[in-house]
């Protein structure tokens, strides 16, 4: 058993999110003596405490509400939901607590020392551990380590113009706290956080206004996927303004007065609450990295190679703090690589497909090469699309608005990427990840039996359509 107060450790992991705890656990499995340092009282990081998990709990409720409403047209009428906000909030919190307590328990079982403190590098082999008010009881003030893994994650980025000292102007953390259900909510940013939280609040009864700086929602995502998402969002949000931006916020007793710039947007409007979700930035400051040889680029990302090594031989870095995409599953994989490299194994982050999922309704998911990237780089690809209008399962769900697309190398027919929009897209994308990583070709996907009637058939039929004979989709021969 590691002495809780020992000033020595073999491996120090700074940050206890999906990157940090995965690294700590894997290292412990390999026999290392590990200290996991978390600035939150419980492990889990942004993902469990202030991100993926609470937001998905709320989105599940939003889904229930909307499906009940959809049933109206199918001969089943539900009354308007009666929302008990306190109960709802505590259900969400209980989901989080269950998972974070589970992680604490796993720390104990794996003999990982968990320290609730801020870790700050003093040099390449020493961390200073600080609690909110000075030294942490029962933990050393200085921790000497052989190896360290920086897994400090990321923070919501709030540009200066949008930064207002008023609790009604929230970032994603504030929005997830669910203080109340504002009558009028402004969401700034048409990225995944803005769309997901906008969906939650709209389902709970807020009038949601969304402004996005660029000319489309989910910048960078293939347009055909985003197009399928648009109608439902437009129905649920009060208004969506593209090419629009906030000039300033003025807190007033009756609400936050916002001034906008852009076409077709009323220049001044008042909102009860505002969510600013314009992006996230790496948490590479206040960690003392300047006291080590670690190099940080001008965007704040710690620079690492494919073995997660920084410029400091004793220090690795993983997760959001090393670069885009800032997603938990990338951090977990990098954690394994970092630990294996420390253990002297030949490991490297050579993944081809990192999946991304936006949990809107419908969900949007993609992995590997996107059509947008192929176009930008001039790479020749062949794209096979299967609209869900031809899927039996989608019809039974009343959701024929989806689309499954596969991106192939035109010569070898190797699967390079996949994109899906539709309910359950987040689950469907896993097949695409496996196929891309396995270097599967179109025939591999087309000739594997997919269960009927399920949405997964759309993946098989997309691949078939490359050969021009998708069973449920007729395209005249060219």
């Amino acid at each position: 058993m590691t002495d809780q107060a020992s000033g020595q450790t073999q491996l120090a992991v700074i940050g206890a999110g999906p990157g940090g705890y995965a690294a700590a656990f894997h290292a412990a499995e390999l026999g290392m003596q590990v200290t996991l340092i978390s600035q939150d009282a419980k492990p889990g990081g942004v993902c469990l405490l202030r991100g993926c998990i609470p937001s998905k709990s709320l989105l599940h409720i939003a889904k229930l509400i909307y499906e009940a409403r959809d049933a109206d047209g199918w001969g089943v009428k539900f009354a308007e939901p009666n929302i008990d906000l306190d109960a709802l909030r505590s259900w969400k919190d209980s989901v989080v607590t269950k998972l974070t307590d589970g992680l604490l328990e796993l720390c104990k079982r794996r003999n990982v020392r968990f320290v609730h403190a801020r870790g700050r590098f003093e040099d390449s082999h020493t961390l200073r551990l600080q609690g909110a008010s000075g030294p942490v009881e029962g933990a050393p003030e200085r921790l000497r380590f052989e190896h360290a893994i920086v897994a400090t994650g990321s923070l919501p980025a709030v540009p200066g113009a949008l930064s207002v000292e008023d609790p009604r102007v929230m970032d994603s953390t504030g929005a997830l706290a669910l203080e109340d259900i504002p009558k009028r909510l402004l969401v700034v940013g048409g990225g995944y956080i803005g769309l997901e939280m906008g969906t939650v609040y709209a389902a709970l009864g807020s009038e949601v206004t969304l402004v996005e700086l660029t000319d489309g929602l989910l910048p960078g995502v293939d347009r055909d996927l985003v197009r399928a998402l648009r109608p439902r969002l437009a129905e649920r949000f009060k208004s969506i303004h593209l090419n629009a931006q906030v000039e300033k916020f003025e807190p007033q007793p009756e609400g936050i007065a916002a001034t906008f710039k852009g076409q077709d947007i009323q220049p001044t409007q008042t909102f009860d609450r505002v969510l600013v979700a314009v992006g996230r930035r790496p948490a590479s400051q206040n960690v003392g990295l300047e006291n080590t040889q670690v190099k940080v680029n001008d965007r704040g990302f710690v620079q690492v190679d494919r073995q997660m090594r920084t410029a400091d031989p004793a220090i690795r870095a993983i997760g959001d703090v090393v670069g885009e995409p800032m997603v938990a599953h990338k951090a977990s994989r990098e954690a394994k690589v970092a630990v294996e490299v420390i253990a002297g194994k030949k490991s490297e982050f050579d993944n081809v497909a990192i999946p991304a999922v936006v949990f809107t309704d419908p969900e949007v998911a993609w992995c590997g090469l996107t059509e947008t990237q192929a176009k930008a780089s001039g790479q020749q690809v062949k794209v096979a699309r299967f609209p869900w209008a031809a899927s039996g399962r989608a019809a039974t769900l009343g959701r024929t608005d989806g689309l499954t697309k596969l991106i192939f190398d035109p010569e070898t027919q190797r699967l390079l990427g996949m994109g899906v929009v539709g309910p359950g897209a987040g689950e469907l994308i896993a097949e695409g990840v496996l196929a891309v990583e396995m270097a599967a070709v179109a025939a591999d996907v087309a000739e594997s039996i997919h269960p009927h009637p399920t949405l997964s058939e759309t993946v098989m039929e997309s691949a078939e359509s490359l050969f021009g004979h998708a069973t449920h989709l007729f395209r005249p021969k060219r």
């Binding site: 960078g220 965007r299 620079q303 190679d305 494919r306 993944n351 993609w366 396995m438 270097a439 591999d444």
Partner: protein
């Protein structure tokens, strides 16, 4: 406008070079053709002239780096502007650059204060193989892991699966091929047992072999594995040749530096003409001997950087004096690392003279794909019986190694007799040359 100055093609079969010295720094203003880097390739040292004029914004390499052809060496700001390319504003970006990120460029940030040109550059440390433009090899994660463990570059493996997909069996086959294809193997000879930890018996130091050293090691290993060689010895009486050489030197105090090697060059051509199978290469697959109708002779030069073998072209068409002049020039260039790459190629036979250093005899290794090499040891005074009388004569030891596939022992002996005869009778050099 910022331009990337990339490693140019340096010659046939040269894929990379070691950076010996970077001669410019960030902020320097350079001119076209100004030497910016000293490089060392497998074959020679090269001074690399800049293809651009302007201000050096970033130096992407440092002393000691191994850099492949096509890699970015310098970023040069061609117009005298202040390099004001700012990164685009960071706004609401959920853009997921999946999969591409780990394929980041190989550029390595060398100076901490250097402005970031490429936003995603891995920090430091040995970079995994792979050119920036290559996509991932078509193989599953388990196969990729296996290749990593074996140190195999999957891009070199041909896949047997659909769409060229590489499976476990393909990697195994590739490993077997590597083990047997000794001719293409690098220094690490196939089947050589791994080294013990020498540190357990005393202090050691690991020293990186220079490019020239590694190439020499590779070449002699290839020759050793592939050429069944025989070495034959003889002595040439060079008393008169040496006397003639001294006479020339004394009467031409400002003349060319006439050396034994220059005269041996001329004599060798006579022997090669008589025995053309020594001026050849073996093509075992075709079952043919390739006879060369030209006489380009390599002369091994010992430099402080290692062994370099410049080639003297058309020796048969040059006089001894011309050869001596050229030899002197070429040896000097080799020592100053200023040899051009094409001066190292196309040899048909090689001479290595250790006479200036010492030794009675040695067995040189054939300079593959040539079939014969002549070693010269130190000449010495010996008692020789001439016309029934013991006489002191100056004898030059000749050591001829040859590829037995091309040359038989009898021919080897005849070649040496012919050579020794030509050297002991300087007149024949004039008559036959």
């Amino acid at each position: 406008m910022a331009t990337e100055f990339k490693m140019p093609e340096l010659g046939e079969n040269i894929e990379q070079a070691d950076v010996v010295k970077v001669l410019v720094a960030e902020g320097d203003v350079i001119k076209v053709d100004q030497t910016v880097l000293e490089l060392e390739t497998d074959k020679a040292a090269v001074e690399l002239p800049s293809a651009y004029a302007g201000r050096v914004v970033k130096v992407h390499v440092k002393d000691g780096d191994q850099v492949p052809v096509g890699a970015v060496l310098l970023t040069v700001e061609e117009a005298p502007s202040e390099g004001d390319q700012k990164s685009e504003p960071v706004e609401a970006k959920v853009v997921v650059a999946e999969g591409k990120e780990p394929e980041a460029k190989e550029a390595e940030p060398t100076e901490p204060e250097a402005p970031e040109v490429e936003k995603k550059a891995p920090a430091k440390g040995p970079q995994p193989e792979g050119e920036p433009s290559r996509g991932p090899a078509p193989a599953s994660p388990s196969v990729r892991q296996m290749a990593r463990k074996l140190g195999i570059d999957l891009h070199q493996v041909s896949g047997s699966g659909a769409g060229g997909r590489i499976v476990v069996e393909d990697v195994q086959r590739h490993v077997r091929e590597l083990a047997t294809a000794a001719t293409t193997g690098p220094i690490a000879a196939a089947g050589a047992p791994s080294l013990p930890d020498f540190g357990q018996w005393g202090p050691i130091e690991r020293q990186r072999m220079s490019g020239i050293r590694r190439k020499t090691a590779e070449n002699v290993s290839v020759a050793w594995r592939n050429v069944p060689q025989v070495t034959q010895y003889d002595l040439a009486d060079i008393t008169e040749l040496e006397a003639a050489r001294k006479r020339y030197r004394d009467t031409h105090p400002d003349g060319v530096k006439l050396t034994v090697t220059a005269m041996v060059l001329k004599a060798v051509v006579a022997a090669l003409k008589a025995y053309p199978q020594c001026n050849a290469s073996v093509d075992p697959t075709a079952g043919e001997l390739i006879l060369k109708r030209y006489y380009h002779i390599g002369v091994a030069v010992d430099t402080e950087h290692g062994l370099i073998v410049p080639v003297i072209r058309d020796v048969d068409r040059k006089s001894v004096l011309e050869l001596a002049t050229e030899l002197d020039e070429v040896a000097e260039r080799a020592r100053q690392r200023k040899i051009e790459l094409d001066q190292l190629q196309g040899g048909t036979f090689t001479i290595t003279n250790l006479g200036g250093i010492g030794g009675t005899a040695f067995s040189p290794i054939v300079n593959f794909p040539q079939v014969a090499i002549l070693g010269l040891a130190r000449s010495r005074q010996e008692q020789v019986i001439r016309d029934g009388k013991a006489e002191l004569r100056l004898m030059l030891p000749l050591c001829l190694s040859y590829d037995h596939r091309a040359v038989d022992g009898a021919d080897g002996a005849r070649f040496l007799i012919k050579l020794a005869g030509a050297l002991s009778d300087p007149l024949s050099l004039i008559l036959e040359g």
